[in-house]
Symmetry: C2
Subunit: 240 residues, 2 copies
DNA sequence: AAAATATAGTTGTCTATACCAATTATGCTG
DNA sequence: CAGCATAATTGGTATAGACAACTATATTTT
């Protein structure tokens, strides 16, 4: 519980991160009343306004709530926060109470088509393409085509396709996952999709396209998935 | 462009609302550089910190962006903003640069089926049911079935179906729209859907179900829409 | 015992000032 | 004219203090 006034990091930021730590560790659980702003200011020997600057941002992120005359409290966990997180197929199925698995159909480096190159903001034209059949409780659920920015992940092998690829990318290539754009549309199963998914050609499929960005805003993957229309619903909660 | 120092409303709030007005009216378009904080402070004869308090909140709402050494600017409209707010069909189409209209097919009070009654947490079993064909640039885009909690909106007439029904509910019945749960799935057009939407029976449609809640958490409407798969993509941005 | 009052502690608002860091405009110099 | 140093302007950080609005508790009065 210390701050360093000589650090190049702003004082308010140090206090903010300290509080964030208490929240994440659970040391300050939901409902907990924080030390008052004056106490904080005295403790760190800073001005009260500096403390307020630290707290204000956390309040606007809805991690804390202020109550006039009472104090500042740790906010209750909200359902919405769940939906902020980006879901991988594995996590999605787990949340639905099903066991996820994959069958790798294809892994190769290839030249990106124009649309993919544009979405990934490629200079060089190479991408890793990975086609995986996604299973839930050992039954086909979706056919997934991933395109990975080849320059960003040199030497990526097909063994990456098993297990969580995001963990691999974060650990071995030092990227941090940021945001994602998704689009959903209805379509009909092609011959190939139908065969792999075990449905009739022309049966409905939900087409989900996702472009995922690093925390720096660089796009690093584009995924197009065809989900069985009879087995999959995409759910979303829109807060406020 | 005035503020009232004797108003019970805080000064920073008055400034904030003034800026919000300029943004909404379009007087300050995206990219516009705001007067500097010092100019503002002088103009209103308040401290610069007070101006900063007004601006800070708008920045955290992503309506403005600050750039050190350059100035404060009106943010570009981001796709994300569309998806944060709850979108009505009208707003959705407007955001896509199309003109929205409707053809009312049906408006009646009826007994809710079990699923609808559960979703709307009905005690009495009555709902208003409203079927509308939704057009974008005068071409069929979706067929929409709305179920409204009848007890909450006594005396609602079919004239409500034209124009923005949300405005009507907010103004006449004093509700505030809160959150919504949505689910999306792929399906095939039924005979009736196909005819109204102008597509072949069995063509792909995107089925969107939405339950909308008031700010108090009371569900007040359930909507099931069938969107033409060839014309509509649902887009969503997942932050962080 | 109940009601009114005081008191202390909390966040909310606002001031006036100071210096720092990044960017842009200006004017000088070669 | 190009390049460079300087100044001016902008937002970023931080201080110290003041009063207001609100809440909870303790004290006094009725």
């Amino acid at each position: 519980m210390k701050i360093n006034k000589k650090s190049p990091l702003p004082i308010y930021y140090q206090i903010q991160e300290m509080i964030r730590g208490k929240l994440e560790s659970g040391e300050w659980p939901p409902g907990y009343m924080l030390p008052s702003e004056r106490i904080f200011a005295e403790e760190f020997d800073v001005s009260r306004m500096t403390v307020r600057q630290a707290v204000t941002e956390l309040v606007s992120e809805q991690l804390l709530t202020r109550e006039k005359g009472k104090g500042t409290f740790v906010a209750e966990h909200k359902i919405e926060q769940m939906l902020q997180g980006l879901t991988s197929f594995t996590e999605d199925m787990k949340a639905r109470g099903m066991k996820a698995s994959s069958e790798l159909q294809l892994f190769q480096m290839e030249e990106a088509d124009a649309a993919t190159a544009r979405l990934l903001q490629l200079k060089g034209g190479s991408v890793y393409r990975m086609e995986r059949l996604r299973l839930a409780d050992n039954k086909p659920m979706a056919l997934e085509n991933s395109y990975l920015h080849a320059e960003m992940f040199p030497g990526l092998g097909k063994e990456a396709a098993s297990g969580s690829i995001y963990n691999r990318l974060e650990q071995d290539y030092g990227i941090t996952i940021g945001s994602a754009d998704q689009s959903l549309e209805a379509s009909l199963a092609s011959e190939r999709e139908a065969e792999l998914l075990g449905i009739a050609p022309g049966a409905p499929v939900l087409l989900i396209s996702r472009t995922t960005y690093t925390a720096d805003g660089e796009p690093f993957e584009h995924v197009i998935s065809s989900y069985r229309g009879d087995r999959y619903k995409f759910r979303i909660h829109m807060p406020r």
